[in-house]
Symmetry: C2
Subunit: 418 residues, 2 copies
Amino acid sequence: MSLVETIEKMAVDARAASRQLRKAGSSQKNDALKRMADMLMARREEIIAENQKDLSHAEEAGLSAAMIDRLTLDAKVIQAMADGLLEVAGLKDPVGEVTGMWKRPNGLLAGKVRIPLGVIGFIFESRPNVTIDAAALCLKSGNAVILKGGSEAIHSNKFLGNLMMEALKEAGLPEKAIQVIRTTDREAVNILIGLEDHLDVIIPRGGEGLIRFVTANSRVPVLKHYKGVCHVYVDKYADVQMAVEICLNSKVQRPGVCNAMETMLVHKDIASAFLPEMSGRFSKAGVEIRGCPETIRLVSKATPAQDSDWAAEFLDLILAVKIVSNMEEALEHIEKYGSHHTEAIVTADYERSQRFLSDVDSSVVLINASTRFNDGGQLGLGAEIGINTSKLHAFGPMGLEELTTLKFIVYGQGQTRE
Amino acid sequence: MSLVETIEKMAVDARAASRQLRKAGSSQKNDALKRMADMLMARREEIIAENQKDLSHAEEAGLSAAMIDRLTLDAKVIQAMADGLLEVAGLKDPVGEVTGMWKRPNGLLAGKVRIPLGVIGFIFESRPNVTIDAAALCLKSGNAVILKGGSEAIHSNKFLGNLMMEALKEAGLPEKAIQVIRTTDREAVNILIGLEDHLDVIIPRGGEGLIRFVTANSRVPVLKHYKGVCHVYVDKYADVQMAVEICLNSKVQRPGVCNAMETMLVHKDIASAFLPEMSGRFSKAGVEIRGCPETIRLVSKATPAQDSDWAAEFLDLILAVKIVSNMEEALEHIEKYGSHHTEAIVTADYERSQRFLSDVDSSVVLINASTRFNDGGQLGLGAEIGINTSKLHAFGPMGLEELTTLKFIVYGQGQTRE
């Protein structure tokens, strides 16, 4: 079979599996998830051996230490994967929920019921543990999934795919509900995103280049975010200590992720009280500051920010800092340079907190809290498969519920339309 | 300015307008809608004169009588447009609704609030009254809209666009919230669907060719349905009289629309009791029947259905009829040939009604009611801007609420992430 035929067959099989899966009860799906967790633990040694093949190739290819770290499956990571599966098993099943029902004047009873999306194409890079996380969320929400991981993790992903299929079979669910694309040929991505009659959604996760490519070329609807250029605005009425802790946490708690702060906006009236202490803390944490001219005057170690810095997603211990004359300037800056991902204000002023909440057009807007809370787990969605910064379907973190849709159901007694 | 520059400028203006519009209160938006209604009535003669230019061109170009009918704006159609505006003004404003709010263990109060999508690109064919309907729904839901109508209605659409801008200005709202593309150059569509940084969604409405073109080429997310191949399944336990009335209504009440029945599936055990009467009624209504071999035996006037007939959206007084051996065969047929649009069962059996409701993967699934009820107005959404048969964002009819999205808002007291 050609690659096109292979992937089309996978998609057709996935559709058939999804038709069975959408009828599966929660206990059966949870049983499969628990079997997967058991299997990961029982066959740990084999997983590590397969992963070793990927690691050897990675070393030969001269991948960076960070890349190799992301690729590694050791006992600890495998334990975390198993725990993750049990966590998803413990979450509420969204399928079948009737979210509303109402009577029409002609006696029709109309309502909406939650159903799985159907077949999901999940395209991701490097970390093989994402294979398990994504598969678990898709399965629990009643969706079949086709996973296309990075070529550097191919041995790990193939083996994990086999284990999941075994667990599905043992649980009496269709094996083809979780399929891993078993080639490193990048053409597989092109084929997958062209299958609009077979797939319901494509979720790409990885670098901006991959995501832009998928968005530009997919005929299947895409849920994605390009990047997170997240801001904290320290208002003139901010509590200085609170602002310092929130900004520090937003920047350094995990700088390489999309909900880390990339630009800090500071009201001019609080700058001299706030910036010296803040920059001391940042300095200790190893954060490089690129500032506007006003910032440079107050922070000795800061270097001048280039215009490109305001739109940059550093994903690193680098921060752009701008002093603004008023709140409007902060809002304008966010609108111009932000990515509609996550924005926070630190203020003790009621009116300003409310204005920020309503005016900022981002998927998560916070008052007096770290940007790092834009996360499905942290916001109470249970777990997340990704974050969407397009407005359609789900704006922000996507959990189980966001992997479903609502269909209309109508109970009649013979009604016809006049 | 080149066409690219013109349309990009429209999009930039629309974004600026949307930022103002999302803060506008319901009363201000309703005021604008009422002014538009008044203006339509007051300047009826001018509208008809502009429309006359389009009609003259249409006649010269030899357009069909049906096309010319759709293009015509007379006093009655204008009255209906004005009534539609007032109806939208009377609907509940979806913007600002907090759909849920919950406390996290760390004290964060997290919730979701309904916001406009932002900027909508609406691409449609022929009927100029759609200009007004679509603009009204976008405005009420706080969205700016760029409208690209069919070239045959260009004079009507331009004039209606001018009136709406005047009304917006009078109501103190940004004029650029509703913009009509003032060229008949089809390249405008290509440009519009490439503006992913400026537009939040594209809604195409018209023939399947237009919609497929937009879906294949758009970088902006698209809400659309290709076609409605809707089925009624007459079960062995159906009430024959009820089935006759529902099928007749589903087929003939308005055959040219997407929620009309295109294929009727009949259980073999009821076929001889049901089909003779049904076919008599269809015959009187001028419906041509294309049937499976079993149907041909029972319906003398029926002609043999070709395989292509099962997937056809006739949009006409033509019906495909198939006799099935059991309910599973009906479900399989719908899965194979259906378009996930609208399906109905007629049955008196409880278990079968529930199975149909849960197993059929369509945006609207009905028990004992006409397929013609898949309509935003009929289902109680107020009015609709279209129907979506992709699973993302809104599956089925889209009203005001479906022109919005939910953003997360978080109230903190200094929380940081551990």
